[in-house]
Amino acid sequence: MTRKERRLLVLGASMTALGLATALVLLAFRDNLVFFYSPTELVEMQVPEGRRVRIGGLVEERSVERRGDTVVFRVTDTATTTPVTYIGILPDLFREGQGVVIEGALQQDGTFRAASVLAKHDESYMPREVADALKKQGYWQPGERK
């Protein structure tokens, strides 16, 4: 074996070991690397009242209600729905059917009290006319946002 081959072997082995170690670390910290939980996960994990968490999902259709300063709406992952109350300024992209990430805590009455609301943008980009045409022809898929 030449010195070059030996160096290649050592480097290859170290990179494999390093990659493996990183993968294991990331796997171990998986729960902490998640930016938000879905409403279903929120129920499954039995998060105690008052603990600060982030939940993400779609704003349910016809669920947004404004009561004075307070905005009340429901967030859904289509399986579970969480009622949310929020006082503050909503981002431009916030509307029914839009994906949102909400930071806050569960209250005693089972509602989620939001401290901040972030709009989640999806990966589709298109001009308005194309979006309208797609909607008109019924090509808009159920999972996609309107």
Binding site: L18, L33, L93, K120, E123
Partner: protein, 251 residues
Amino acid sequence: MNLHFLANPTRFQRWAGAILPWVATLAALTLGLGLWLGLFVAPPDYQQGDTVRIMFVHVPSAWMGLFVYTGMASASAVALIWKHPLADVAAKASAPIGACFTFLALVTGSLWGKPMWGAWWVWDARLTSMLVLLFLYLGYMALWDAVEDPARAGKAAAILCLVGAVDIPVIKFSVDWWNTLHQPASVVRLGGPTIHASILVPLLTMIVGFTLYYLTVLIVRMRAELAARRVQALRQARVASRESTLAPEAG
């Protein structure tokens, strides 16, 4: 012709000098075209409006941040295994350019995030791993400067660069592996791009422009680095020859 042909620094100097004006002109033309397409021809997005235009700088910058680092990691591996003199120079010359691209991606992303998400910054997996990449670039550059002897500095920096390379797949797949606020991939994904052609074409033009710009600056920086090393070598040779002529008298 293979890569060995270019691995000779003298031949590289001659060859690089010849193609530099062409690459630079092409970069300027493509960037000009891309900006014109992006700012004036591309339609506003159906939900983001004109804010979508930030993407024409943000996405190419982010891609170049990853691309330049991948190139540096490959060059570092070549430098460590085959000891090609130019691989070292290419990696060192790339680092500040890649750092600038990464910085630009973070800043433009932040400017887009405030109106769209409602936050300048969030600690989700994509944004955090991209910030780690910026620190890797800065650490790599600092290491080159911290060690006096270029041979030892190069070796240490190359190892750091290769260790940091694990961040690249983490950045790319962070949006698929974990829930992130950052949207998933739109261009390089199974099932094709989810960007309408009228927005995709300016974006791809900008990506080509950014790549050509990188090549231009890389060639300039590599030539400067080679010249600096040559000056260093000549100076050392002169000091050495003076010492050898002085030595008999002193002894």
